[in-house]
Symmetry: C2
Subunit: 254 residues, 2 copies
């Protein structure tokens, strides 16, 4: 949400004094982008003069909040065509602790200095397939291991934590793995993906049972050779069933 530090003084003044003509006051969007690769779970952070944050920005008067989230993510990080899932709005009165004013006459009462409620989105991508880039406004943009997230500005650490919870929650009744695993994968590879996201070890037999019950997997006739005396079969997702399961989630559980 802070991308002001690197603006020219003239642009910054215009943004501070006139931004409310373009954007909705009091409202921002923030994106927690998780990256999975090789049993690692990471999160994409952006660095400003003020410190590290999740990528975020404002909502134009002529776009929906979902469109704003997509646009902001693309502008800040170069990431495009990513499925963003809204998970929570953050609206405590003191959430932007440490927000800084500007040494430009007349801007102390800028719309930007007022209170913002932010709407949080999360996404999960295969991070070796996407190359984030910092825009001209930020100092850095890179993946951080989920266990090594630094102190972030405002309430962004809390937002990351809530997003991780939402991502894990999503696993209960939505399949995950499409676009994250190779086209063909073994059950241990799928389990490893789940374990990485959940941050816990799972029982092999229960996991396999649960996954097969989801009815989104097809077992191929191929096995992964050379790794053990009982080589595991390769599976692939049945795309139609996968998509149906993504949509319906729920009812299967009862």
């Amino acid at each position: 949400m802070l991308y002001l530090a690197a603006m020219s003084k003239k642009d910054l003044k215009h943004f501070l004094l006139k931004g409310q003509d373009t954007f909705l006051k009091h409202l921002s969007v923030d994106c927690v982008i998780f990256g999975f690769h090789d049993d690692q779970l990471k999160v994409l952070l952006v660095k400003w003069v003020e410190g590290w944050s999740i990528p975020g920005g404002f909502v134009r008067k002529d776009e929906s909040i979902n469109e704003a989230a997509k646009r902001v993510l693309k502008e800040r990080t170069g990431l495009d065509r990513i499925f963003l899932k809204q998970f929570e709005a953050f609206g405590e009165t003191g959430r932007e602790k440490g927000k800084k004013g500007f040494d430009i006459p007349g801007t102390w009462k800028s719309w930007y200095m007022e209170r913002f409620v932010t709407i949080g989105y999360w996404a999960l991508v295969e991070f070796s397939k996407v190359t984030p880039r910092r825009d001209w406004l930020s100092e850095d943009c890179r993946w951080w291991d989920i266990n090594e997230v630094p102190k972030l500005i405002f309430d962004h650490n809390r937002i990351v934590t809530a997003a991780l919870e939402a991502l894990r929650h999503n696993l209960i009744d939505h399949p995950v793995g499409y676009n994250l695993l190779p086209e063909k994968f073994t059950m241990p590879e799928l389990q490893s993906l789940y374990e990485t996201i959940l941050g816990i070890k799972l029982d092999r037999r229960n996991f396999q049972k649960k996954m097969l019950a989801m009815d989104v997997l097809v077992r191929t006739n191929e096995r992964r050779m050379g790794v053990s005396h009982k080589p595991p079969y390769y599976y692939r997702f049945d795309k139609k069933k996968y998509e149906r399961a993504m949509k319906n989630g729920l009812m299967r559980s009862f």
Copy 2:
């Protein structure tokens, strides 16, 4: 969110021209209050001159969005001490289709006539225990059967549908029933509660297995006599385990 129709012209003008001094522009909260009683699921609606809507209102500059939702619900319906759960923000550009202007000079460019993003909350109560009352601004306030919800203003039908989905979703990994059932209840009564909320029939044996696996129930030594040759036991919730399950939800599923 519309509670303007019944204001005096002077109050209305002040609200339209000066409301942004008190409230955050562009932001509202809306509450979908579900009521359960005797195997019926209802939803609380409020009637204005403009039509039926869910109870909603604006966010004061000095309160959090969660506080705003509680206050608004209390003001509109008299309902207090209700656990509201945020589920989604609705921010399409055209969501307030049919919003009406005012025949008062100078108010056509009111903050109220601009676009609003609304944050949705849901709650589930035992509706025989709470008595909603309309406030002086609205024409009516009452429970509607979930299958007979009328055409609502703006996108409120969509918000109710999304809230119902969120409520059902919540059943997957959170127990429900506390404060909705008598202190002691039978497994068929609990199943009936779930069936009413989910809108589907459930398998008796699977349901019982799932519920016991949740580890929030205590079987008493009493049975419900006189109803069948195999009278069902009474159960009660273990409050500590119930609360822990409410908090932890997730991990049990894996």
